[in-house]
């Protein structure tokens, strides 16, 4: 009797446990997705971070936004024109309401500019001098010198409500030394397509459709929940068991399993980030090498030999499981200024590489420490090991030293630049080549140009072209100059491009999403089949 009773009870329990998972959303389209990390903060001006922008881009809006293909679209501004060499005029959208019912006007834009300038995103707006209100729906942006790409630079500068910020004591942006927590860290209220419905830091963020949004959403999402699941296999399990509809950062080794599972699909798309190698071409003697008294990387032939030794296709197929795109430039094809001709990957030629190395005086090669990250992007450590193997073919023993990003950054970042050879990943926040040229290929100077030029490359011709690009308002001649600068740097082998990374998501077949290359989650463009 007892056994029967118990088994019935277990049966009922099992049914009760199973039902909530089985029941699909009845009317409202809900969308649940998971990512390995949480947004650090909900404050749009506190930190320049792609994930923070990806989350907040659903709640807040910029003046100019990007579509799924990263093309510029009018958002809170309807029109923008260059008035004179240092002034951009933006006409603001009328009739836009904040989610608390307040009206959106030029005052909010001016306020958001002052606030952003005091926060961690200020370096993204460094060329903007001031924002002036002309009337309630017109503003002028003054730039420091000529800046032809202002609309591109402000797509992650989100507009906050002045009244809401003042009412809630959130006038100051969050900063690491804040002794008082700012309200905007945990709360968000913008003009965007979704409202913040719940926030549990490190656990989840809930979104709810904003019915009063000025634009029509393309998708059909009414409610969305963003979960943080750090462990990759737990993330995959959550998708396979149906608890979430989509996961970000699918481990490449699980792609086959997802493809073979009925009802699930792998979504791979280009990522703006490109991985490339930087060698120390500045010091007279390398910090971490057995070559003493001279620096082999100063010799262009050595750098060229390294480039010719690396088999990019093998890395793509063997290491990246085809989820990468070998490149001949260190900027992605989606970046303004990319040149398809220069962007073709260099074909490996080991014999020629060996000859070049011998010619440079290193017939037996040399050894050097190769600094890598092991948690930054897909298979970064494995890529380093493969590159090291490639270089070994011509006698260069590149010993990989793989570390976590925080350790690695501490070592290689300015002002130390303590590396002899390193692999880095970079994407320009303006989606334009100029910032890449300025921070990576310009000679390091006191004004902060070349700050991320880890190897210390310097070519006056490139520097001059960068200065010209800065002030060229004609798109065609500007692109021509970018091409020229990229070509000089490529001929100099200033850096060794490896590949463009892929964004790797997995989702249910019923889900229709777009994958912008800047890692955003534009929920307004997502839909779920009922």
């Amino acid at each position: 009797m007892l056994t029967v009773n118990r088994s019935i009870r277990i049966g009922i329990l099992a049914a009760a446990l199973a039902s909530p998972l089985a029941a699909p959303g009845a009317s409202a389209a809900t969308f649940k997705f998971a990512s390995p990390v949480d947004a650090y903060t909900l404050d749009p001006h506190a930190v320049s971070n792609t994930l923070v922008f990806a989350i907040l881009g659903n709640i807040y809006e910029p003046l100019v936004r990007r579509g799924g293909d990263l093309q510029l679209e009018p958002a809170l501004a309807t029109k923008w024109t260059l008035v004179d060499n240092s002034t951009w005029r933006f006409e603001l959208r009328k009739g836009v309401k904040f989610q608390d019912g307040g009206d959106f006007t030029a005052d909010d834009v001016v306020f958001s500019f002052e606030r952003a300038k005091a926060g961690g995103i200020k370096s993204n707006l460094s060329t903007l001098e001031s924002v002036k209100k002309v009337d309630d729906y017109t503003i002028d942006i003054k730039t420091r010198g000529v800046d032809p790409i202002v609309p591109m630079e402000i797509t992650n500068w989100f507009i906050m409500s002045k009244a809401w910020s003042e009412k809630n004591g959130a006038v100051q942006p969050g900063s690491p030394d804040n002794k008082v927590e700012t309200f905007a860290n945990r709360n968000a209220m913008g003009t965007g397509p979704f409202k913040l419905a719940g926030r549990d830091p490190g656990v989840k963020i809930e979104f709810e459709k904003n019915p009063a949004w000025w634009d029509k959403p393309v998708g059909n999402i009414d409610k969305a929940t963003f979960f943080v699941i750090p462990n990759p296999s737990a993330r995959v399990s959550a998708l396979v068991s149906g608890e979430v509809d989509m996961i970000d950062t699918l481990p490449p080794q699980d792609t086959q399993r997802i493809e073979q599972t009925k009802g699930l699909k792998v979504l791979a798309g280009p990522d703006l980030r490109v991985a490339f190698l930087l060698a120390d071409v500045n010091r007279d003697e390398l910090l971490y090498s057995d070559v003493k008294g001279k620096n082999p990387f100063k010799d262009k032939r050595v750098r060229e030999a390294m480039q010719l030794a690396i088999d990019l296709d093998a890395i793509k197929t063997k290491v990246m499981r085809n989820y990468s795109k070998p490149l001949g430039l260190a900027i992605a094809p989606e970046v303004n200024g990319f040149d398809p001709e220069l962007g073709k990957p260099v074909q490996p030629d080991v014999a020629k590489a060996k000859a070049l190395l011998t010619e440079a005086g290193y017939p037996n090669g040399f050894s050097v420490t190769f600094d890598c990250t092991n948690d930054r992007f897909m298979n970064d450590e494995a890529t380093c090991i493969a590159i090291s193997g490639s270089l070994g073919r011509i006698g260069i023993k590149a010993e990989p030293r793989a570390q976590t990003t925080s350790k690695w950054a501490q070592q290689i970042n300015p002002p130390g630049y303590n590396t002899s050879l390193t692999m880095v990943g970079y994407s320009p926040f303006t989606y334009d080549a100029h910032i890449f040229l300025t921070s990576l290929l310009h000679s390091r100077d006191a004004a902060g140009r070349g700050v991320f030029n880890i190897g210390g490359y310097s070519n006056p011709k490139v520097d001059e072209l960068i200065a010209q690009i800065q002030s060229d308002t004609n798109p065609d001649s500007r692109r021509q100059k970018i091409r020229e600068a990229l070509k000089i740097a490529k001929d100099d082998v200033a850096l060794i491009p490896i590949h463009q990374l892929n964004i790797l998501w997995a989702a249910k077949d019923t889900v229709n999403v777009v994958q912008p290359a800047d890692l955003a989650y534009p929920l307004r463009l997502f839909s779920v089949k009922q």
Binding site: L17, A22, V47, P176, D177, S233, S241, E243, A409
Partner: protein, 323 residues
Amino acid sequence: MFRYASARIAQTVVVLLAIAFIGFLLVSNLGDPLASLLPPDATPQDRAALIATLHLDQPVAMRFLTFLKGLLVGDFGISYRSHEPVAALIWERLPATVELAFASLAITLLVGVPLGVYCGIRPRSALAKAVMFVSIAGVTLPTFVVGILLIAVFSVKLGLLPSFGRGQTVDLGFWKTGLLTASGWRALVLPAITLSLFQVTFVIRMIRTQLMEVGHSEFIRFARARGVEARRIWFVHALKNTLLPVITVLALQFGNIIAFSVVTENVFAWPGLGSLFLQSIQTADMPVISVYLIIIGAIFMMLNLLVELSYPLIDQRVLRERA
């Protein structure tokens, strides 16, 4: 008694200070928090300004003193990662870890003690042999493997239980609990089993060995010779003598459960202290890591102190030895 207690407490304070210092030193060598706080192309000026505001330019000893001063007045600092007060972050995550720890402690007691007693009394029975065989798996399998196996079976294959998170929580104002909702309980099952598996097998094995040892001791043999009922011998005389060391060890194991939960929490995306700790390590969020290490150290020390202070109640001889 007073002298004994104050000596123990003084020792605890010294060890806590040492833990705080070691934690602080480890953490100050962990990496560059600027990497996660600043965009890669930040200007040197931005960098210098942030270094100054975080006091990273001061010598380690000065930073430790500032940190310690803060601890004493309850100011644990601000997280580099989320810009929120560390105390609030930790307090917010504590309920998840504590509930998970108590759930697995409950499983340990409810499953481990009866099975241990059974295996101790009937070591040669088939069931006891089976339990001992299975318990090898519990001792040897790493926690993350157990967790992933459970997820594969109960979430992915059978779809019975959630594979991640804590379900719906109810905020009681000072404590966010998952124990008041059905989804909270369902979410608790797999992580609690995962976390308790090692403890369960540990307790089974310990009680079994203890009981078998006590079973051979003279007073048990004497009781048997006097014709005392077997049930009474085991459950009154033998078990009483076995449970004292078991309770002592269990108290310390509770500290272990909290510390070990890092792995379990990671596998199940359980939003507790362990997850917070891992997330903080990834971003070199020094203030959170130091405070976490100190809190875990403090929990261990407190449990240890309680155990030590309870010794004189159990056995007056410890006091005499010191006097």
